[in-house]
Amino acid sequence: MKIKSLEPQYTNEAAINLGAEAAVEKGRYLYCVADARERLSLGTIGIEGSEVYTVSCGDICAVVHECPAQPYESTDREVVESWVIIHQKVVDVAWERWGTVLPMSFDTIIKGESGESAQQNVRDWLKEEYTVLKSRMDKMRGKAEYGVQVFWDPKLVAENLVQTSPEIKKLDEEIRSKSKGLAYMYRQKLENVMKHEMEAKADEWFKDFYGRIREIADDIRVEKTKKAAQGLQMMMNLSCLVCTDRYAELGEELDKIDRTEGFSVRFTGPWPPYSFAGNA
């Protein structure tokens, strides 16, 4: 990032003018909105060592640092990752201190505009959105987000299906009676039927697991499933908003799923409520 430096030979007046202009151009990087009326500095814990402090409006505040009105961008994966980790650390500090936060996405920078400084724009925004922010924070109070990912081993599940589904069992037997060439074809047919049955099974299990988790969680977002390693498949990816006193209960339920043959569960958190801070 380039930082404009003032040339020393400017007259005082010019320097002041330039300074004022530069102030307008500046932005505020937002980490989160917190449920606090304090106005204070959290120290130089921000991205690239910036000082993080609060801008308040009534009993809520935004956690920010001062930066040029330019987004942080890089094509270097490690750099982006380190920024994201720092972003998260700052949100964590605020979360620990004040209990309830609405985390922002990475690279949310409010700019100064039409004579208003960026700082003032942050304050105006808090004021304008006060009711929405406040009610959303009320919803998050005493809760945290947990990631629940359920994986299954398609091989194990498929073996199970061959034993239990009559249609598949019949096809499996037919293969043995066919000539070598036809057996190849029947094997592909079998694969198709298996795929269908597996999908139906996955659906069934999804509904079952979802129902059990829904009982415990306050809110759930169903996320896209991702690729998994070691021959496993992710069949369910949820973000769950859970009351802090019920997370142990969720852990117990996930244990039960984890113990089911062919299934394993990944349980992450507690996260600040990233998945629930946005649109309700």
């Binding site: 330019q70 609405l102 922002m104 990475f106 690279d107 700019k111 987000e145 852990g251 507690p270 801070a277």
Partner: protein
């Protein structure tokens, strides 16, 4: 079970959340989006999905960005031009690229030279579409309701290979006029085709109950002389269905030729004079029993070999249907003669038996 937030093991979960989620501020207040759309590409292409970009309306900004960049590239060297080739006009535009299930409008910059029409993507230095002007046989304007809800005009080019290319430009009419000027100065004759209708599914108009299309494609057909009209080559689409072989005449929107499958007695490819439009080239002659006994229908286009194969398959299938050695393809489930299916694979979905694949691999190595 206890949740984990070990920073190494959960980095991906963290990135998902911090980059793609979180509280959103309306776009006019923040700098991360407006004016610098490429941030989405830089940061997120490597790390996360497109959701955030779409949510912010980034794609719209992106489009504008491309438009403003137009001026920057105006003076740049057009590396793809042949020496002596002169640019007549250029403008932003797009062409409808469709291959298989993939169909999309690709955007770039039209360069109309005295020899060619090129659609060039300046940033990626890629030629998206290109045709020599003397390949153009016809022009047609088409009105389309764009997905943005606005009606817009597209320009369709009918090429000698029988393909129809759909183009759209910032000033479609202007492009058409410039193109016509270019064609005139080259001495190329072209047809002005009114109301070309590409979107109607022709098959709905002639398929009978239970009839299924096995193979189809754009192809030229020689319409025999009738009355005072001399025989002539016309572009259209040939359909091989479960019952018939029929050719749909695109401009007249009617069946121009048809014969039941069991009346076809043979087909062959030969080189012959194809008239003023196509000059000399390959033609596929289909011999069939018509009203006046043995008759021949001629077709010409890019994929005659595929057509010949498809017609042969159809006739061998007919023979096998009598002997009863039929099997269903394991992938698409269509009926086919069993030895052909095992040896050559499925004609419709391109399924190949693993054994044949292995065999081909081995022979491939030997030949190589």
């Amino acid at each position: 079970m206890e949740p984990t937030r070990n920073s190494h093991a959960t980095l991906v979960d963290l990135l998902d959340r911090v980059l793609d989620k979180g509280l959103i501020i309306h776009a006019d207040l923040i700098v991360s989006v407006a004016g610098v759309p490429l941030i989405g590409v830089n940061l997120r292409a490597a790390l996360a999905g497109m959701e955030t970009m779409l949510r912010y309306g980034l794609m719209r900004d992106w489009d504008e960005e491309i438009r403003t960049r137009e001026s920057e590239y105006r003076r740049e060297q057009k590396s793809s031009l042949v020496s002596g080739e002169e640019i007549i006009t250029e403008m932003l535009g797009s062409y409808h690229c469709s291959e298989g299930i993939y169909a999309v409008w690709r955007t770039g910059r039209f360069l109309l030279t005295d020899k060619r029409l090129i659609l060039y993507h300046t940033s990626f230095e890629e030629v998206l579409f290109e045709t020599a002007l003397d390949e153009i046989m016809g022009l047609a304007l088409e009105n389309e309701l764009h997905f943005t809800g606005k009606p817009r005009e597209n320009l369709n080019l009918l090429l000698k290979c029988g393909n129809i290319v759909r183009l759209h430009a910032r000033d479609t009419l202007g492009l058409k006029e410039a193109l016509e000027q270019g064609l005139i100065s080259l001495g190329v004759c072209w047809e002005e085709i009114p109301n070309l209708n590409l979107h109607d599914d022709n098959t709905a108009k002639f398929l009978l109950d239970g009839e299924e299309v096995m193979y189809c494609g754009g192809i030229w057909h020689q319409i025999p002389s009738r009355g005072i009209l001399a025989e002539s080559w016309k572009p259209g689409h040939l359909y091989l269905t479960s019952r018939r072989l029929c050719w749909w005449y695109d401009f007249e929107e009617m069946i121009g030729f048809e014969t039941p499958l069991n009346c076809i007695t043979g087909s062959m490819t030969e080189i012959k004079e194809l008239g003023t439009a196509l000059k000399r080239g390959k033609a596929l002659d289909v011999v069939y029993i018509g009203e006046r006994g043995k008759e021949v229908a001629s077709f010409s286009g890019d994929n005659l070999a595929d057509w010949e194969r498809a017609l042969n398959e159809a006739s061998s299938r007919r023979d096998c249907a009598l002997t009863g050695e039929m099997e269903t393809c394991p992938r698409c489930g269509r009926e086919a003669e069993s030895s052909g299916l095992l040896e050559r694979g499925c004609n419709y979905c391109a399924w190949i038996s693993p054994r044949t694949m292995k065999k081909e691999l081995v022979t491939g190595i030997e030949v190589g």
